[in-house]
């Protein structure tokens, strides 16, 4: 019986080399919902998406997508999993040697045997969906940051994925492009019935469009809830995020083994 959750992370821990990035993470994403994962830079958000896309495997725990553990998938299963998944990369990751048209056509040409006329129609439809009809002849270098992100979005949804992963879709965009992208993400999610995870550190924009929020800090889930619950939450963790304060329970400094005092040669210094 398929569970109600399209994605479920159970006790997932992950380390690059020896540095533990994610500790015992538990997450659930219901079918058809848009869920945000928030946390500061370096808190392991991109890593989390990489575990779900199967680029890395956790040292411990299960990453269930539609009931199947990504960490245990063989080559063919991983291939099938990725075909049903779309991912929007932080900086778009458009293929710089291909035109806008060929970028959006890329997954269609690689994974289907559709005739060129049908591919053309589909590509133009997807470009239209992100409001970029007419840009198909341009090269990625000729696009603004916001446009590139939207082309990448069109490419990610080319095969009508069942799961969308968004890695910081708002970074580096002007307020208008940001609003456009947020609206698109929301609209696509509603229209296609896709389950989606959006990783971000932009609290305010995200709270407007998502169904549920997880907060990640220092490798752990520290809070979760609906946008209303988050806005009302008293937790100092959450408040630090929502208000954007530098100081609070979430540490701003890199967790070094040595204190600054050690390197400066000052006696008697302790850890802050």
């Amino acid at each position: 019986m398929p569970s109600d959750f399209f994605i479920e992370l159970r006790n997932v821990s992950f380390a690059y080399d020896r540095r533990l990035i994610l500790k015992n993470i538990n997450l659930r994403i219901p079918r058809g919902q848009l869920v945000a994962i928030m946390g500061g830079s370096g808190s392991g958000k991109t890593t989390l998406l990489r575990l779900i896309s199967g680029q890395f495997r956790p040292q411990q725990g299960e990453v269930l997508v539609d009931g199947k553990d990504v960490a245990k998938m063989g080559h063919a299963e991983l291939f099938a999993h990725r075909r049903r998944m779309g991912m929007l990369f932080q900086f778009g990751a458009l293929f710089t040697d291909l035109s806008v048209f060929d970028n959006v056509a890329f997954p269609l040409r690689e994974h289907t045997d559709l005739p060129e006329s049908m591919i053309r129609d589909l590509v133009l439809m997807k470009l239209n969906a992100v409001g970029l009809f007419g840009t198909q002849e341009l090269m990625p270098a000729e696009l603004s940051g916001g446009m590139a992100r939207r082309v990448a979005l069109a490419r990610a949804i080319a095969l009508d994925p069942a799961l969308m992963l968004y890695d910081e879709p708002f970074t580096g965009l002007d307020p208008i492009s940001l609003g456009v992208i947020a609206l698109l993400i929301k609209k696509l999610n509603d229209a296609l019935g896709t389950s989606a995870i959006m990783v971000t550190h932009d609290v305010h924009k995200s709270l407007d469009i998502v169904d549920h929020v997880y907060f990640v800090a220092n490798g752990e889930v520290i809070a979760e809830g609906t946008p209303e619950q988050v806005r009302a939450a008293a937790s100092p963790w959450v408040q630090q995020f929502v208000r954007g304060e530098a100081d609070g329970p979430v540490h701003f400094a890199y967790p070094a083994n040595r204190g600054l005092t050690d390197d400066l040669g000052v006696e008697g210094g302790g850890h802050a």
Binding site: R82, F89, F91, A93, E110
Partner: protein
């Protein structure tokens, strides 16, 4: 206390282990390129496109360099041969030096610095900008889609470029020897015709350039794929491609020559 002794030793060990590890990694990389080559060779348009970038765009530098090397050979060869009264043998000297050594080696060195470095930079940059990640997340294997077509394009282009280099060099020798110095054209060509053996000289030279092509292209795509995904990482990978290729070409040339001639 023995730090001054141990630390360089440790460094040496570390460097050697690293080098061996990378060699192993490169071999595994070659195997996976070969494994995924079927897909890219079936879509030959991908390879053709890369042949254009790796081969066709190298034509100018190969043609010009070949011509000059041939002209220098003509001058130097004539000076030396004339001392022994055998300037008639200029055609043979030019052709043999080019076919056996200079053509394959110099064309490969030029190819490494023109196309090899470009391949490394391109693949490294695709890695840095997450294009390779994007590809594998789209269930498209970057080794099959990006690396293998470039590899085969390099392997195909190299012998052709070397052959062209030879032709231009022989023509350069002709310009200097016959047109400039005034040797007899018939002698130039017939001496060459008599001295050159199809199997021994031409085929062996082609085999050399094929081996160099495999080596240079493998180094180029490997360094790109293995580059640290930062601007500095790509730049040092590009440098490594040119330096390693040059050393490998010269070393392989020695080994091949020892076996062939």
């Amino acid at each position: 206390m023995l730090d001054f002794l141990i630390s360089p030793l440790r460094k040496l060990g570390h460097t050697s282990i690293n080098a061996i590890w990378r060699l192993g990694y490169a071999s595994r990389f070659l195997i996976s390129i070969l494994m995924y080559s079927g897909q890219s060779l079936m879509r030959f348009s991908l390879v053709i496109r890369e042949v254009y970038f790796a081969g066709v765009l190298s034509l100018i530098i190969i043609i010009v360099s070949g011509l000059f090397v041939g002209m220098v050979l003509g001058l130097q060869g004539y000076n030396t041969l004339a001392r022994f009264g055998s300037s008639d043998a200029l055609g043979a000297l030019v052709a043999l030096s080019l076919l056996r050594e200079l053509g394959p080696v110099l064309a490969a060195l030029l190819f490494a610095s023109r196309s090899g470095s470009a391949m490394t930079a391109e693949i490294g940059l695709m890695k840095t900008t997450e294009q390779l990640d994007a590809m594998s997340v789209m269930a498209v294997n970057p080794v099959a889609r990006v690396v293998a077509p470039r590899f085969w394009a390099g392997v195909i282009s190299m012998p052709v470029l070397a052959a062209l280099f030879n032709v231009m060099g022989i023509f350069g020798g002709y310009l200097v020897g016959v047109v400039m110095i005034g040797l007899d054209a018939g002698t130039y060509w017939s001496q060459m015709n008599n001295a050159v053996d199809l199997h021994f000289d031409v085929v062996n030279g082609l085999i050399k350039s094929l081996v160099f092509g495999i080596a240079v292209t493998l180094i180029a795509v490997f360094e790109g794929y293995d580059a640290t995904p930062t601007a500095a990482g790509v730049s040092s990978a590009t440098t490594r491609t040119v330096v390693t290729s040059a050393l490998v070409i010269l070393a392989l040339d020695f080994v091949l020559t020892a076996f062939m001639f």
